[in-house]
Symmetry: C2
Subunit: 461 residues, 2 copies
């Protein structure tokens, strides 16, 4: 009922339209109204505030992540979603232990360190060795084994803040690959300069996977000020001895899960829209920007569509588990739902700062649909790029397999100040920018969910 009233009210606007089919325009009129209303949204903040306060950190596969799922089910049911449930899977789980680093000589002092995901443990009393420093991953790769063997490798880098966050991919290789390279060369351990852009003594954790056949070694990240401190020490040219204590452990196979909720569509043949973010977080912070924000934005937008009346297509919101540690949740989800008619995917997983760019992922046949999405987003300061949608960490497999999608790119300028640190907490979220996200998502979902045309598959990449 509500939806019909809104459509009727929007009719006078339609006479101004100069392109495309009337039904599509009628839907676009609604999208604009929903977009403006979403700029007053409080649901996303309510979700972010509640999840980060009442659950807090929620490392994949732990009891905390299970509490987050129960919290999510209660919240999504209370918001009125249909078919709210948990889909479980099993996964190996790694948990953090003690973590300490100190320079033993010649400049004795403590350094702030955290273990990288899947790090091996040092002895409980720590491991002492000389530090050998490298200015880049390439420099480490080029080093003879003899320069590294038995030592604690330190690798720095020059990551800078960027709006699109693209330096994470490049410099992040220090974290993703550095530990395996160091182990292959016989290093006793590795510490990297945190993959981050801040200057606070909160190291950035993050997953790394041991390459095939590589012996796990202790692998940690120093905070950026501590990495710079170590660089200054190394420049003085004296041998530097570090004691590193990291006692993480693998606690075997545990249960994880994805939380699912739906806004039921009117046309089962039109295919399903799959959106979401990830519910798990690293254990150091409360996972506000990574990624309570994403689950909140997508759920809040879907609720706004739901409250405006049933859309043509079912919108399915999935709060994935275990994104941080390798994507066990999205892998399990894709395996279980490969046969379903998923026609469009979109993920939110880059904080809560404003959306500034739309990366489209439509087939040529859906050019008009892409245009309508771009048009409804433009008043929010969002422009369509020529960069194709990636689908992100949890939905990228669908995009690569040929499912249409859109990436609503968020401003990442300060994202890597907080990413994977204890500082990923609620106070880093700007409620106004969060609302702009909800508005962008609501507008996009309104256009796509109600589109009269079929949403075509794209060439698989």
């Amino acid at each position: 009922m509500k939806k019909q009233l809104l459509l009727a009210a929007a009719l006078p606007l339609l006479s101004l339209s100069i392109s495309a089919a009337a039904p599509a325009q009628r839907v676009a009129g609604q999208a604009e109204r929903l977009r403006e209303a979403a700029l007053e949204d409080d649901v996303a903040w309510d979700i972010v505030e509640g999840l980060t306060t009442e659950v807090g950190p929620r490392l994949a596969g732990t009891e905390a992540e299970a509490r987050a799922r129960e919290w999510g089910v209660r919240k999504l049911k209370s918001l009125g979603f249909s078919n709210v449930h948990i889909e479980t899977y099993d996964m190996p789980v790694w948990v953090r232990g003690e973590e300490r680093a100190e320079i033993v000589s010649p400049f004795p002092q403590k350094l702030a360190v955290t273990a990288l995901g899947n790090s091996a443990a040092t002895p409980a009393a720590g491991l002492s060795a000389e530090v050998v420093g490298f200015a880049s991953l390439a420099e480490l790769e080029a080093a003879p084994d003899s320069a590294v063997r038995g030592k604690i490798v330190f690798v720095t880098h020059a990551m800078s803040p960027t709006q699109d966050g693209s330096q994470y991919g490049y410099f992040g290789a220090v974290r993703r690959t550095g530990p395996s390279v160091a182990s292959r060369k016989g290093a006793a351990a590795i510490v990297i300069r945190s993959i981050g852009t801040d200057h606070h003594r909160n190291p950035h954790t993050g997953v790394q996977m041991w390459a095939q056949g590589v012996q796990p070694i202790p692998a940690g990240a120093l905070s950026v000020p501590d990495a710079e401190q170590l660089e200054r020490m190394l420049k003085r040219g004296k041998p530097i001895t570090m004691r590193l204590t990291l006692t993480p452990r693998n606690i075997g196979v545990q249960q994880g899960g994805n939380v699912v909720a739906e806004v039921r569509g009117t046309d089962p043949d039109a295919g399903i829209i799959l959106i979401g973010g990830h519910l798990d977080s690293w254990d150091l912070g409360t996972g506000a920007i990574d990624n309570a924000a994403g689950v909140a934005i997508t759920a809040a937008a879907a609720k706004r569509i739901m409250d405006a009346g049933r859309p043509r297509r079912t919108i399915r919101v999935v709060w994935f588990g275990a994104e941080e540690v390798g994507g066990n949740g999205s892998d399990a989800y894709r395996t279980a739902h490969a046969k379903e008619k998923i026609v469009f995917v979109s993920e939110s997983d880059f904080g809560a700062d404003r959306v500034w760019r739309m990366d489209p992922g439509f087939a040529p046949a859906n050019a008009a649909l892409s245009d309508r999405v771009a048009a409804v987003l433009a008043p929010l300061g969002i422009s369509r790029s020529t960069q194709p949608a990636s689908g992100g960490a949890d939905l990228g497999d669908w995009v690569r397999a040929g499912v249409a999608g859109v990436d609503l790119q968020q401003d990442g300028t300060r994202y890597f100040d907080y990413h994977h640190t204890p500082d990923d907490t609620l106070d880093k979220i700007d409620p106004e920018q969060l609302r702009q996200n909800v508005a962008a998502w609501t507008a996009m979902l309104s256009v796509v969910a109600d589109a009269r045309e079929e949403i075509a598959r794209t060439p698989a990449r």
Copy 2:
């Protein structure tokens, strides 16, 4: 020789002067030259970089502070100062232990905490109790004992950044007084919102002294994001149980010391100028802004005066010990040197951001000297205020006893983002602003050290 040449070169400027005696003006001409040259200073950075890197944290009365003294003696001798030596004293020493806080129920998660100075210890396994929250120190003071007894008291506050840092005095009472108030009411422990203006998960430590007859209890500070998290939990109205583990201990009486260096003056009867900062730091960071900057600025300025030729008055630079834990170093210094003819004091202990205000502390008879100091500082963007100089934590006793002085007030807008946290590290110092400090100090010292008039005592306050 060098000085005479500079004075000769400055002579053409003197014909422009319209006030005061010619000798004083001649000195002021030199001050302007030294001020401009000091804007290129590298000595202060060298000291800050070296002390924070090669020594790092240097808690009062510990082996680390002793290393800092040895480092200081080497550095000051290498800079060419006279009479470089250490003056020791004995003091009781408190050292940090383990520190952990966690919400046990109903929202289990860890919080970032640090012990306040002189905190008692919890049992090694921690202390669990219900949290009772207060919006201010006044609210805690007004609470009946029955509301507090056996509980963990939490006190928050609303400190904001200010240029003059004056909110530290007001809101800092939560730290200085809160623990004693809580103990008197029978609290099991107290945690306060850090006395700070940042939003990072690095709690601010700081000293607190137990009031007469009060039983020490465990006393800690939560980081600002954690304090806000606890406030959100308390607002939900359910009983909150916290487990707090703080295991600091008193290690008895140890030796501390002040490091002293001099620029010898030509006129022993003209009195001594006493300047400096404090060499000790809290143990969490490397004490860059608090107070490697202050020892560096004062020594760099004194060296610039020295290198320009002997001043009329001896300039004595003291790097005080144990400022953070109660001023044992300055107390010992004042006791030992009470009989000396100290005619002027000035301290630098508020970071490394630019000097913006001169607070004068001259007798009426020295109005012209105060004018000349103000005039030489004005081109650096510094104006004289009507606020009398305080002398600061280490030299305030001299000012209160009637010794003339000047406070060169630094911009404190971001000082309490880092103060007493792990984040007090070198990267927080802006080299350009550090140089402006050296220029201001050099100019002031030049005017005061060479002033022809006697420097009179002020009315004791």
